[in-house]
Every structure is written in C-alpha cells, then in structure tokens.
C-alpha cells in the first residue's frame, strides 16, 4: 500500500471533482438526458458512489501506512507515551495569486480527520442519493403543489424538478468534500460559501412556497452574519502571519499551525511573531524614533526581533501587556464566529429549524449530517489556533445551544422540527466538547451524530412520504404499517439517547451515541475537576441535555409509531416505503449501531476513536491554561481515568434511561397527561413553544430596528438631501436658462449667425465674378500676369534700390 501513498491526493481530488463533473453534466445536458430527468439521478448517484469507493480506498491506503495509536484510556501505564505531530500530507495544487510575497493557492491538507470526513460524507451522501431517487419520484411528473397557492387561491402547477434536485445535491457534495480537503483558510472559506449557496438552493427547492423561499433567504442571511466574523478572523491571520495555509507547504513556508505551535516550543500555543509585530506597530515606530542615530532597516528589524519575546510575555518594564494576545484571540473568535453561523449555534441557530422547508433528504444530508457539521469540523481543524479563552467562549456557546435546542424540541409537534432542534442541541454538544478541550470527543460525536441523525431524518422522510404530513399529532400507530422504518428509527433514537451498558466483559458495549456522549460527559466532568464553577454549569447542562434528548426522541417515536392512529385517513393511506428508501435506512441503522464499536482492532481495522486519536492536532495532548481568565482545559486522557469514568458512566446511563422512562410515562403508558403538565406550566410551555421568542426578538430588534433606521434615513434622504438636490437642480436649470437666453442665443448664436451672414453676402457678391465666360477668364489671367510683371519690375528697379 505504500506504493499508493503518493497518489492519495490525486485520489481524493478525483473524489472531490466527480460530483462537480456530475453537476456540470446535469447542468449542461440535463434537459437532453431524457426520461424526465431520471438519468440525472443515475449520473449524480454513480458520481458520489465512485467518490465513496475512492474515499474508502484512500482510507485503506492511509491506515495501511500510518498505524493508529493505541487507545490510551485502557492503559494507564502508557500515560507518558511520546506524542508526535500527526501524520499530514500537504501540498500545493495550483497557485492562484501572490500578494506581497505571500501565496494564495489551492492546496490540500490530508490527515486522518480528512480521511474520516471523506468516508463519512461520501457514504452518507450515497445512501441519501439512493434514498432520494425514491423519495423525489413525484418530481418526475408535473407537480401540483398544494402548499403554494396562487393569487386566485388555486394550487400551483409546475413541471417536475427531478434533475435540478440532483444537480444541486451534486454541487453540494463537491463543495462539502472540497471544504474537507482544503488546505488553507481561504479555500475553506470559498467552499464554506459554496455549501451555503447549495443550502440556499436546496432549502428553497420548493421556491413557490413563500415559507420555503423565506427560509432559504433567512438561512443565507444569518449565515452571512457569521461569515462576516469569519472574514475578520481571516484578515487578522492574513495580516499578521502572511499565510492562510494550515500546514507547512514545501514552497510556501510554514503554515498557520506551525507558526502558532512551533516544534521548538514543544507545540505549546504561543503568540506568533507576526502577530506580536503587527500588534506592536506603534512600539516599533517609537523604537525607530527613539534611537539617537537613524537605524537601518536591518538594524531595526534585529532590534525588534530581540524584543519580541519580552513583548509577547509581557515582561517589559512597567508594562505587563501581552502584546498580540488579543489579536490571537480575535482571530480565534472570528473563525469561531463563522462556525456559529454554519453550525447553527446560539445566537444564530434560528435558521436551522426553518431550513426544514427543504425536501427531507436535503434535511438529512445538508442540515443534519454534513453541512452543519462543517462548523464543528472547522473548529476541530483550526483547533491549534484557539486560546483557552476562546475555547471557553466556544464551550459557553455550545452549552447554551444544547440547552436551548433540547428544550424547544420538547414541545415541537412537527416531526422534522423535533429532529432539527435535536440537531441544534447535538451540535451544541459537539461545541461544548471541543470547548472544554475534548477534541476527540467532539469529533467523535460529529461522526456518530452524522450517522444516526441522517438515519432519523431519512426515517422521518419515509414517514412523511407515507402519511403526507409533518405533524406528529396526525400520526400514531404506524409501526405495523411500516415496520422497517419504525425499527430503524428506534435504533436511531436509542443511539442518539446514548444507550449502552458501561461494562460487559471489560468492554463498554452500546450504540454509537453511547461512546461519543460518554466521552463528552467525561471530558466535561474532567473539566469540572479543574474549573469548578464553569464545570458545574456545563456538566449540569450536559447531563440535563442527555436526559432531555432521550425524552424528546422517544416522545417523537411513541407519538409516531405507537398508540392509536389519530388520523384514520392518513393511517389507512400509509404504506411502507419502496426498497430504494428502506435499504439506505438499514445501512445507516447498522452504522448508527456499530460505527463506534471499539472491537474492530481485534481484526486489525482502525476503530473510530483510534482514527480520531491519530488525527489529534499538534499540541492538544497537554493541559492548556488561559492567561487572561483563569480557565484550564484539561488534556483529554484525564477524562478516561476510572475516577471520572465510573460516576459519569452511571450518570449518563441514568440520564438516558430516565429520559426514556419519562417519555414512556407520558406517551406510552399515558400515566400522566401531557396536556395537564402543559396547563400547569403554561408560561414555560409558551416560551418553549415560541422557541424562546428568538424569532420575535430578532424581528423586533434587528429587522424592525433596521427598518426603523432605514425609514429615518429615507426620511432624511427625502426631506433634506432630496430637497437640497432639487433646489440645486432648480438653480442649475435657471442658471442654464439665463445663460441660454443671454450668452448662447445673443452672444454665441449672434456671432455665428453674423459671421455666416457676412460670409454668405461676400459669396453672393463674389458670385458675379464667375461669369462662365472662358474668354473673360483668359483675359483675366493675362492681365494678371502682365500686372505681376509690371509690379515686380517696378519693385525690382525702383523701390528696392
């Protein structure tokens, strides 16, 4: 397999480009593919299938060459294991531009995380492509859209958009894979925007429904807010470091990561020289001015270099400011800001539930499994540049988000909205994990969540496909009608609740969610050991969230599949989905159960946790302490000691089980009436039902505020500026009239007319000279000649003397 290693970038690049090719083919030849666009599905599906094969082949090459490290959790004696920088392949694809000596190029950064994301994205995307060929079959024919009403109240009729759906899906796959493989922040940003664009296309797929187009615009605009912050972060990095590359590229010098965490500094995070220099610009000027004799450029640079360490550490006399520290913080916060938008974190989480207006496969692929995970992925990818302070902010945001999402999901009645808020909540979990130093836990939850959330969404899609409604109150008792969907969704619910048995034959056995959620809780617990105040809040939220997760997931499942049918018509109409939709469900269910099992290394395959462990960025294997705020991120293996694992395992298990039991009490055994509870906690219910009034607050504060400011400005415009401009224009017009009357008509025109009149008269008077008589002309010539002779001789002989 070593022999294939040099071709790894090309393989992955091919995997990236295949969906693009598919997009182009469908875009250019979609209408000629025939059969109402059905071949478009096969083009797109075969492209993503080929990408999957290539990705798994690349994974095979990668793991054959790079051994995954042993899980340090179970081997306490290996604590002092030597840490190395993770294996990474970087390289330049194509230089785009060069600014002031710094290159911007298309390059790649391949490590185990990239490989993992490739496999995950392509696999899930393939499942969803197959699923979509069944789910979207209505679009093969002209569609009567009952949710999009025309002005006269009739339903809209439009041609089917089967090919267009797969076209957008292909473009999305290309963008997502490009985002994963990109080797610098700029490229990441470009693909970041591309996935945003695809998201816009897909949310607004039913563009005639005003709710869909509004949701698409909302998602796009809210994301712009996050991207604005991201641009600030990128500018901070570019201006100070002169590069946006993640890793060291052979020709382009050291990348961002190695400038921040140099090998000489044992990979500890240190404000890079460039940032210190940028932040201390005025000190450098002062230094240049203070010296008695003029300093040469080199001498000044040497002097600055000498004092940079002191500035960085804040050890100069009388000034303990850590120069550049704030800039580094701004860069990290800026990058995170982009992730907040894309991953639907508080306070920009409002777009994700609305994005459920898109077709369900899109919700599964884009708005739960991959694209919204891109924010988490970017945090994981750029983890080396985050200061502990920034990480704390990330953790806080994640904590708030997970709590908000979970609480709103409790009362939602739309099946897709429940899943959407569950997604928001789970993304909050990931951010929380990353923020408290649990890099591996966060990434692991990203992968497992992608599996079971896509499964859940596809299942909900299957249900919606069968009963043609999103509302859970209209469902119920569907398990007998659609057993495959029901049981696969049950697996998904169990997985997301994190059900598992802490120890069987020395190994914890559970569904995939169990491993990742336990890892997160362990890390939060270990964080609580170091930072009691923050840690208690986080741990409480995380445990409560786990309980709530189990509750709302099982509430959804009970409401949908058990009990008596609440809508007889819909129930009679319901049927199991076709095979092409069920098979992906089963595949994903298998994945949701088994993706995180630690038993694969018995047969020599890399397990999920060890793969992630191999991808662990440089320097994330030691404690990180903030210097401004007293906060410490414990290194991750501290969460795996028995003193943490024991209580956390019990607590997590208890939370999940209690959540399930509570749901059963309410919705299965009906011991308690949910309506009673709703009445007794009416204010709370109302707040939750209105999603904490976020949309209303934003509407009131931002939208209305913007409109009010705009109205004021418009008023100012109309009353002051327009008047001014109008009066100026009137002045100009009257001036022009005056000048026209006096200068132009009397002066210029008069002169020109006078001149032409004179010329005409002269011509008329000279006209009579032209008699047309040849003889006269001859005479004139001769007379003139003689006269010339006479004048000349007179001049020569008399006057000139």
């Amino acid at each position: 397999m070593d022999a294939f290693l040099p071709y790894l970038p090309s393989l992955l690049a091919t995997a990236v480009l295949l969906p693009l090719v598919s997009f182009c083919v469908i875009f250019l030849a979609g209408t000629w593919l025939g059969d109402r666009g059905k071949p478009a599905a096969w083009v797109a599906t075969s492209a993503i299938l080929a990408s999957t094969v290539l990705s798994f082949f690349s994974a095979g090459i990668w793991f054959a060459v790079h051994e995954t490290p042993g899980a340090h959790a179970s081997h306490d004696e290996h604590y002092a294991v030597e840490h190395h920088a993770p294996p990474v392949i970087t390289g330049d694809g194509y230089p785009l531009a060069s600014f002031a000596g710094a290159d911007v190029s298309i390059n790649y950064y391949i490590d185990a995380l990239t490989i993992l994301m490739f496999c995950m994205v392509t696999f899930i995307a393939t499942c969803i492509h197959f699923y979509s060929t069944g789910y979207m079959h209505e679009e093969l024919h002209p569609v009567v859209d009952h949710e999009a009403l025309l002005a006269n109240g009739e339903s809209l009729r439009r041609p089917g958009r089967y090919a267009r759906f797969f076209q957008a899906l292909s473009l999305f796959c290309f963008s997502m894979l490009g985002l994963v493989i990109s080797g610098n922040f700029l490229m990441t940003f470009v693909f970041w925007e591309l996935v945003g664009l695809c998201s816009w296309f897909l949310i607004g797929f039913y563009v005639e429904r005003s709710s869909a187009s509004t949701a698409a615009n909302k998602a796009f605009i809210v994301n712009r807010i996050g991207d604005f912050g991201m641009l600030i972060g990128l500018m901070a990095l570019w201006a100070s470091l002169g590069t946006l590359n993640f890793g060291d590229v052979a020709d382009a010098g050291s990348g961002v990561f190695s400038q921040m965490r140099s090998e000489a500094n044992h990979y500890a995070l240190k404000t890079p020289n460039g940032m210190v220099r940028l932040a201390a610009a005025d000190r450098i000027d002062e230094m240049a001015l203070a010296s008695s004799e003029p300093l040469s450029q080199e001498a000044l640079a040497a002097k600055v270099d000498a004092s940079i360490p002191a500035w960085r550490e804040g050890t100069t006399e009388g000034d303990s400011t850590k120069v550049g520290y704030t800039l580094l913080m701004i860069a990290g916060l800026g990058i995170f800001c982009g992730c907040v938008g894309k991953s639907a974190q508080f306070p920009l989480h409002v777009w994700l539930p609305d994005a459920m207006e898109g077709p369900t496969p899109v919700s599964a692929l884009v708005h739960s499994a991959t694209m919204v995970a891109a924010g988490v992925f970017l945090v994981a990818r750029s983890y080396p540049i985050f200061l502990p302070e920034v990480l704390l902010v990330i953790a806080c945001v994640g904590c708030v988000t997970l709590f908000l999402g979970a609480t709103i999901a409790l009362v939602a009645t739309d099946i897709k909205r429940v899943l959407a808020y569950s997604t928001v909540s789970q993304l909050g979990y990931m951010m929380l994990a990353l923020g408290v130093g649990g890099w591996a836990a966060g990434v692991m939850h990203l992968v497992t969540h992608a599996c079971f959330k896509s499964l859940l969404f596809l299942g909900s899609g299957s249900v919606i496909h069968a009963v043609h409604t999103n509302e859970m109150p209209h469902m119920g008792g569907l398990l007998r009608k659609m057993p495959w969907t029901g049981y696969t969704m049950l697996i998904g619910c169990l997985a997301i609740s994190g059900i598992g048995i802490p120890s069987i034959v020395g190994l914890p056995i559970g569904l995939s969610g169990y491993y990742s959620k336990d890892a997160i809780l362990e890390q939060v617990f270990s964080f609580r050991n170091v930072n009691p105040v923050w840690g208690t809040v986080f741990f409480g939220a995380a445990c409560g969230g786990a309980c709530l997760t189990a509750f709302y997931m099982f509430r959804m499942w009970y409401l949908t599949f058990l009990g008596e049918p609440r809508s007889a018509v819909k129930h009679d109409h319901a049927h199991e989905s076709p095979k092409v939709m069920v098979v992906p469900l089963v595949l994903l269910a298998v994945l949701a159960v088994a993706v995180a099992w630690p038993i694969y290394d018995w047969v020599g395959l890399p397990t999920l946790s060890r793969t992630i462990e191999q991808a662990r960025p440089t320097g994330i294997w030691q404690d990180m302490a903030g210097s401004h705020w007293s906060v410490t991120m414990p290194e991750e293996s501290k969460g795996h000691v028995a003193a943490v694992k024991g209580p956390v395992g019990v607590l997590a298990f208890g939370a999940a089980i209690s959540g399930i039991l509570l749901a059963s009490v309410f919705y299965l055994w009906k011991t308690l009436d949910p309506a009673d509870v709703r009445r007794s906690f009416d204010p709370v219910y109302r707040v939750l039902f209105h999603k904490w009034y976020f949309d209303e607050i934003y509407q009131a504060v931002f939208v209305r505020g913007t409109l009010a400011v705009a109205t004021c400005v418009a008023l100012l415009d109309r009353m002051v500026i327009d008047r001014l401009v109008d009066s100026l224009a009137w002045l100009a017009v009257s001036l022009a009239t005056l000048s026209d009357r006096w200068v132009d008509r009397r002066g210029v025109d008069g002169f020109v007319n006078w001149f032409s009149r004179q010329t005409y008269q002269l011509g008329s008077s000279l006209r009579s000279l032209q008699t047309g008589s040849l003889r006269q002309y001859v005479m004139l010539i001769v007379v003139s000649t003689v006269a010339l002779f006479l004048i000349l001789s007179f001049w020569t002989y008399s006057l000139a003397r």
Partner: protein, 240 residues
Amino acid sequence: MTPLLAATSEAAINWHTVMFYVIALCACGFAVIVAMTNNIVRMAFALIVSLAATSGLLFLAGAYFVGAMQLMIYVGGTVVLLIFGVMLTAQKAFITMQTKAGDWILGLLVGGTFLAVLVQLVFLMPQWQSSDYQSVADAQLVAFAQELKSQQDRGEEITPQQRRKLELLAAKASEGMPQRTGEIGLALVGVRADKIESDQPGLAGYLLPFEIVSVHLLVVLVGAAFLARAKRHHHGGNQR
C-alpha cells in the same frame, strides 16, 4: 557640305540668319492667321503650317530630334486629331462664329501689352542679342590649323590625334555639332551620356518622368475614349 553659315567676310549675308527670319515669319504669320480668322477649317490649316514652321525653327537651333517629334506628333498627330474634331463638329453654323468687336479690341489690347512686355524683356540681355559661336569656332579652327602648319614647317609629322582634332574643329565650325538623338534616348532610360559620371550622383536621367508620362498617356487615352464614347440613347443621330 551645306553652307549653313556664310564665310568670314563681314558684308556677306548670313544664310542661317536668313533662314531663321524666313521660317520665323512663316510661323508667326500663320499663327496670326490662326488667331484672326473665324473659319475653323482655315484655322486648322494655318495651325498646321505654323507648327511645321516652328519645327523648322527647332531644326535651326540644332534640336533635330525635338524638331522631328514636333513634326510627327503635332503635325502628324495632334493636328490630325484636331482636324478630325473639326470635321465632326463642322456644321455651317459653327464654321464661322463671329466674335464680338469688343472682345477683339480687348484681346488685342491685352495681348499687345503682354507682347510688348515680353519682347522688352527678351531684348534686355545684350549677350543674348547675337551669337559669337561661329566666330569662336572659326578662330579655334584657324589657330589649330596654323599650329599644325608650323609643326609641319618644322618637319614634324602630324599625329592621328591631331588630325582627328582638326576634323572635329572643322565639323564644329561648319556643321554646328548638334545633339545626338542617341543621347536623348539614353537619357530617357536613365543614362546621361552627355555628362561625366561624377557629375550625376544617383539618377540624373529621365526614366521616372518617362514612365509617368507613359502611364499618363495611357490614362488620357482611356479617359478620352470614355468621354467621347457614343451615347446612342441620347443623341444617337448626332454622331457623324
């Protein structure tokens, strides 16, 4: 040997001068007839005689080739052309078209003034009024003959070169050494045989004007043919 020029005796009539006066009188007289007559046919005839006489003047001035051309082109070509035109247009009404007396008086007055000015100018230069060509050539011949004679008296032989030079001088005195036609031909193709080579840097000949004139003539012929072509749909019957 034609006695072009008379002998050295002072009172003897200079026949060259006589010929000049006769021919010049002929040319001027017929020119006056051209100007004075109103009959277009007579005018054409008088013009032919005047031009032929002018060619005689050219011969007298030693320009044999130009004189020959004058005869051939004007008398043989241009005037035939003119007569052709006269015959085409010579209807009774046009053959004698009276000029008004006022025009006559005015024309003669102006022309007379012009002639007076010109003749006054022509005779302004004293060295132009007579030519000493003959006397100089005679003197050179006599001097050289006497030199040869004295040489013979001393008993020395006359060399072939000296004999050749004597012949040349004799020819110059008796025949006037006209320009050779061949030299004109060479000049028309760009070579000046009458000048030494160092005096003519670059192109001293008339090749380019010759070519221009040839093309010009061609254009003129085409243009004339175009202008004079028959327009049968207008005045088909008027052409004779």
